[in-house]
Amino acid sequence: MRIESIRLKNFKVFRDVHLKNIPAFMVVVGANGSGKSTLFDVFGFLHDCLKGNVRQALDARGRFREVVSRDSGKHSILIELQYRMHITDVERLVTYSLEISDRDGAPYVKREILRYKRGRSGKPFHFLDFSDGSGYAISNEADFNKPDEELEREQQQVAPDTLAIKGLGQFTRFKAANAFRQLIESWHVSDFHINVARGRKEAAGESEHLSESGDNLPRVAQYLYEQHPKLFKRLLQTMVRRVPGIAEVQPKLMEDGYLTLRFRDGSYKTPFLDRYVSDGTIKMFAYLVLLYDPKPHPLLCVEEPENQLYPSLMTELAEEFRLYAKKGGQVFVSTHSPDFLNATELEEVCWLVKKEGRTEIRRASEDPQVAKYMAEGDKMGYLWKQGFFEGADPQ
């Protein structure tokens, strides 16, 4: 499953954007405040809508009037995502469309649609269609041979500020809704904090995936060490190659029941605790733990992975994100690093242009000049630094 397009209307700085043909690994460049985080927050917003309701998701972002584009004169926010998935062995392009509005200070779902084509041709069929708390979902969507009128519509009522896919998406018979719900629920934004990743941790808790802040780093390391020893060995080899001096990293269960990481420097026999290891070392280790995950997140967003890391490591880091995307997870990265960009390809890069309070998205592949230089063997980072990302630089 992969996100193919994102269309936004009146979502903060994005008055009207339509990002198409999204690659498995996408890199976003933009000046400070141009909307990189907002773009990633589309998924965070949907995630919050699913976890609670639309009102809670809006409240966490300063309520409806802060989220709807300023001075747009518009009263609704539109978020439309298209993704590809297999339904009854055929790959289909599914559209999820959500329109949110506000009535006397109370936000509600104006329209929520899930649609895709049943056959090769024909108009996309609405498999779920809700408006202001009531609507229907098709419960036998897999019966593609049945004519439209024989499909079973289940009429449903939900609270006006609740997404219909929240309830219906729990049932596997609503295939497209179920898959979308899973994608949004397991969406992961890495907001890694070195200081919470360090130190002793409770031995019990989430250990299969690195958390957003990275505060369960020793637990995930231990899980990989015990359950996926081969993978952990490969991870260590990479670590040793990238961080001079590091010969070994070992999760260690202390006598008091806490878990900690121990790093061993090749020149010394006794290992030292993670609290005495440099920020960059911890961060590189955390990225490897995140990216070597045997069960990748369907969608991973990382902001400025270059922070604290040595510039020459960027090429390999970019390659690892790309591999992660190939394994099945889609990856969106924002960056300010020319070294990181130098390791990217033409189709992977887009940049944000903010003009008069609204942001547009430009694709590198659609810029004839950038495409021409790249075809002649140039590098994205050079082109960006030399001002060829038209409109990206702060004026």
Binding site: Q369, K372, D378, K385
Partner: protein
Amino acid sequence: MSELVFLLEEASAKAMLEQLVPRLIGMDVPARYITFEGKQDLEKQLERRIRGYHNPNARFIVLRDLDSNPNCKKLKTNLLAKVNSTGKTAQILVRIACQELEAFLSGRPRSRSERIKHKAVGRPTEQEAL
């Protein structure tokens, strides 16, 4: 569409030209300033930038400080040899700023130092600057 493309060795040259160029040629001809990370970077990437430039009607100006280089003529010949290989020779000007490039803006160094000697320090007049 005609366009003026400057290939510069550093960002300070761009800052200077952004002020100066509109005063010299007006705003009618769009100008682009490509800044490199020093002289070596300029010399390394110069041909590639000119050769692959998308706009066939663009005119290029390569600017480089002389700095400690003892021979400005030889330096210019070398740069010309590089840009000639792009096949766009007629569209390219190579200029060596024999003194600091910024002297274009702050006035002739000699008259500038005269002014300093006479304690008449201030902004150079427009005529001096140009």
